[in-house]
Amino acid sequence: MVTSKVASSSVSTARKTVAETVVIDGNKAAAYGAMLSRAQVVAAYPITPQSPVVENLSTFVADGLLDADFVDVESEHSALSVLHGAALAGARTFTATSGQGLCFMFEPYVRTSSMRLPIVMCIATRETLTPQSIWGGHQDAFLVREAGWIQMFAENNQEILDSVIMAYKIAENPDVALPVNVCFDGFYLSHMAERVDLPPQELVDSFLPPPRVLHSTLDPDHVMAVDPLTPGDLLVQYRHMHVQAMQRAKKVIVDVHKEFAELFGRSYGGLIEEYRMDGAEMAIVANGAPVGTAREAVDIARANGKKIGLVKLKTMRPFPRQELCAVLGNLKAVGVMDKNVCYGWASGAILMEVRSALKDVKNSPPVVGFIDGLGGADITLEDYDRAIGIIEEAAKGDVENEVTWLALEEE
């Protein structure tokens, strides 16, 4: 596990950035993130692999560690609907779900973003059924990427906690006012224990201002109908505003990550993060927990003299189009690791979007895709080694298959 540390001795001597070091799984890290962010209303329904997020938060509230209204709901649909009301009343809200729970939540989920409610929701990513599976894929998060939420992926448990805190600052920024998904791999991160540094509450308080009053806070003194029947000439304006806000979020995401790094000493890049891209002729693009293994794979490849680096896609929505063109545009080949499928393109979703983005670059490199890790399968070092071999062939101009399903064999 590699996290880049900001090299600044003045950070650690002048200010305490670690209150306690613990060994916890991703679900608990997410719960700590919500607790330290002082979430005021939490409503969530348990579903594998997210359930411990809810259980931990319930315990925090019962133990007096988190001063929040914990609302027991009968479904994910109710969970997010309750948070709509709470957010409109001006509260900082939190929920979490996975897979079919996200599907059940879909009706209020699409509303949340265009209602510009700064709700933060963790997705412990899980394959969407069928086939029946509880295990980690990215399909659930990728399925809803057009619902208008900001989506970020965490590579490790520390990043989960840090990203939840940053998510509130991004969501509640008046230029953004959009809900944020902090996605982390089901089982790989949700259930795996890692070292996590808990920041002091005072430090988080200095980073996160109190929840801001929204454009549509329910106020008896200013009677307002929220989301009334809206004629088309108004709807198009609201859509335009939403689209623009998503683009403005790019700068806010980068700025918030910079500010976080200065205060807490941990840096994640924001939209993308480059690893060993100096002098690279090829790159792997990956997101989420698979990035951890990719770093190792790149180290091994570099030790063998291969000029390859890694680009971690932290933010999927908004899509870092220009940033990816800048780092990938002049390479000889790019390989994309997708832990999801995009049915319309017989590829993964990230491949489809990276290819599309690179159209902006003249003589852009060939982009090959890999589909792996579905249904909870490991994306191994051997898989990456195979992938790097295929990327090398592409760099020589030899692309046999645009997409390789690494878990399947040809006849």
Binding site: H222, D227, P228, T230, L235, Q237, Y238
Partner: protein, 90 residues
Amino acid sequence: MGKVKYTTKYQAAVAEGLFVVNTGDWRYQRPVTESTRCCKCAQCWVVCPVNSRYELPTHYETDLSYCKGCGMCAAECYVGAIAMVEEIRD
């Protein structure tokens, strides 16, 4: 595109007050109340979907700004005091 013109100051669909769509524009018939027949039972007021019936000392009348001409008041009136008359517009 350059800067786009917005006709609303809000960033999401909200409306001050309770109505945003002028349902009065939908009307092709309007309720006419015979004041001497009205018994002030208030059923018309109860059933009106857009809260357009209002009480006067002798009978109930309709605020035409939002009345959409659905005819519920006429259908429910116990004493048949309301008739739906075709709306003539330019």
